[in-house]
């Protein structure tokens, strides 16, 4: 077989030995994730930070090294991002988006400024390129809707009056992400400002058109995809998701945004069924994504960024509290509810990692990965702990004071 020789094929699982090693490594990784997931559920914390830690420990410079399965993990991580965003889009109906924006657009804008500026400024202070600093701004901006929605359910707060405020802020952030990611994708290609502006304009145009289509034709698209067989339904939706994500990536709109918009487009019965079919798949591939991100980081690189990460975590925790408390006060929520809103929004998670992952993949800044990992680890954990004990922590006077609260942390 002369044409099968050569270097690239040497790493494919052609030999039984290689296949065995890959399977064993994947088995170990999945079992570690399963164990950590149990542990997280037991002590009542989100699993994302533990998965990240697992990746750190198993990567370069960690306790033991995974390498044979890396190819699979890298593709699995991309699938994880697509599924994370597809499901996020499925969670929201176009109507939800409209309501969310109408309810909190002012707070949404405050949210953008109060929580991207600290990240952006820190990036510049560390001497990073403006592109990398913008990415860090994105990392500090997005609260984790995955973690927060889950915890609202766990702590029985769905019925609370401040909950719509929290949820609509999260919706606003997700829309902002859909605009932010394509711009990032363009910036990372290293285009000049003029080229970048044109490309960013094109990207936003594509997103806007897709938004329009998803609002207008969601019934038709959903009817075409629909099937009574779960197998066929899953195959059609996954096929469509990968296709759209791939095309979006090729058009530099970012695969994640493509998947998100597809999720928004699917509605009705298809969306209902996918919401029950997809989560296990998303959790498996999402887990791979967090592990893979951890794998790409050498734990020794964490040490020099620990202090900046800690400072940034404290500052952006305060700015989030301020944003949340202000939004809740505007919605007529009492002092305790404002405090709960603020504390609930602190947790950062999957989307911070998605943004950082884009930068890492493009080689934007070597410290971005470690800093984001440390930052998300800190805020995913403390954010969920603070959210849980929100009612036991006394409300600070600045929030309890007048009904119209000034944003606490905003400059």
């Amino acid at each position: 077989m002369p044409f099968l020789g050569g270097a690239p094929l040497a790493v494919t699982p052609a030999t039984p030995h290689h296949a065995a090693v890959v399977l064993i490594e994947l088995g170990v990784i999945f079992l570690v994730l399963a164990g950590l997931g149990r542990l997280a559920a037991r002590i009542g914390i989100p699993s994302v930070p533990l998965y990240l830690l697992a990746g750190l420990v198993m990567g370069d410079g960690g306790l033991f090294k995974v390498n044979a399965g890396e190819e699979f993990l890298s593709i699995g991580a991309q699938i994880g991002v697509v599924l994370l965003l597809l499901l996020l889009g499925l969670e929201y109906s176009p109507l939800d988006l409209k309501n969310g924006v109408k309810m909190t657009w002012r707070a949404g804008i405050l949210d953008i400024f109060a929580n991207t500026i600290p990240g952006f400024a820190t990036g510049l202070l560390l001497g990073w390129s403006p592109e990398a600093a913008v990415l860090l701004g994105g990392v500090t901006y997005v609260s984790s809707s995955g973690i927060i929605a889950r915890l609202l359910d766990d702590f029985d707060r769905y019925a609370n009056r401040e909950t719509p405020v929290i949820l609509s802020l999260l919706v606003m952030e997700d829309i902002a992400m859909a605009i932010f990611l394509p711009i990032i994708a363009v910036i990372l290609v290293g285009a000049s400002i003029a080229q970048g502006a044109v490309a960013a304009g094109a990207a936003i145009g594509i997103v806007a058109i897709a938004f329009f289509i998803s609002l207008r034709y969601s019934r038709q698209v959903s009817r075409v995809v629909h099937s009574h067989s779960r197998e066929l339904l899953l195959l059609s939706v996954l096929g469509l998701a990968f296709l759209v994500a791939g095309l979006a990536e090729a058009a530099q709109v970012s695969a994640a945004v493509g998947a998100f918009l597809l999720g928004l487009t699917l509605s009705g019965q298809v969306a209902d069924e996918m919401r029950s079919l997809l989560p296990p798949l998303r959790d498996v591939f999402g887990g791979i994504f967090f592990v893979f991100f951890g794998l790409t980081i050498d734990p020794r690189d964490l040490v020099p960024v620990l202090l900046p990460a800690l400072a940034l975590a404290i500052i952006t925790a305060i700015t989030k509290i301020g944003t949340g408390a202000w939004a809740a006060a505007r919605a007529g929520i009492g002092p305790k509810g404002r405090w709960r809103t603020g504390l609930s929004l602190i947790a950062r998670g999957e989307f911070s990692i998605v943004i950082a992952g884009l930068g890492v993949a493009a080689g934007a800044q070597s410290q971005l990965g470690p800093l984001s990992a440390a930052y998300v680890l800190m805020l995913a954990l403390t954010g969920s702990v603070l959210m849980r004990f929100a009612d036991r922590i006394p409300v600070p006077r600045i929030i309890a004071g007048k009904p119209k609260v000034k944003p606490v942390g905003a400059p």
Binding site: E91, Y92, L95, D96, L97, N99, G100, S145, A149, D156, R157, Y158, A159, N160, R161, E162, T163, P164, L167, S168, L170, V171, H226, Q269, D272, R275, S276, I333, G334, K336, G337, R340, D391
Partner: protein, 159 residues
């Protein structure tokens, strides 16, 4: 009693009302059919003193205990399963139509392909009436089938 409705993006809808005795009650209807019933705290009216999470089955049981009926909800879920299925309740007129005649006399099945699946007479349900069943004024006839067929069947029934 006024019921306030608030959308919860990504979760469902929350309804709240104040009971006559002054208790503030909230019900979250999740998209997957689960319900959360919450009693708000009088000290901190934004939070709940307690909540109960009910599955779709639990909540229809509770609705029955509370004196509600859930026939409509069940029919809705049936409609959800069969795309394009129409279900209609037709009340028989005092005279005219098929009142006083048998179901077979109307040739509904052969002429429209819709089916008469049940009759409600004096609060008693009669499932699967045969073609020899005589319809009386005031009977409620449950017809199912495709949209168009049900409409035709309705015209035959009420004349």
């Amino acid at each position: 009693m006024e019921i306030y409705e608030t959308p919860l993006p990504g979760i469902g809808v929350r309804y709240e009302f104040t009971s006559e005795s002054g208790d503030h009650v909230g019900v979250v209807v999740r998209r997957d059919g689960k319900r959360d019933v919450a009693l708000y705290d009088r000290q901190d009216p934004d939070s709940c003193k307690g909540t109960m999470e009910l599955s779709a089955g639990d909540s229809s049981k509770l609705a029955e205990l509370l004196g509600g009926t859930n026939i409509t909800a069940r029919l809705d879920s049936l409609k959800h399963m069969v795309e394009g299925l129409a279900i209609e309740w037709v009340t028989m007129p005092a005279a005219g139509g098929l009142t006083g005649q048998t179901i077979g006399d109307g040739h509904i099945r052969t002429a429209t392909a819709a089916s008469v699946v049940a009759i409600i007479r004096n609060d008693a349900g009669i499932p699967g009436p045969g073609p020899g069943f005589t319809l009386e004024a005031g009977d409620t006839v449950l017809v199912m089938g495709a949209d168009e067929a049900v409409r035709k069947a309705r015209t035959i029934l009420i004349g």
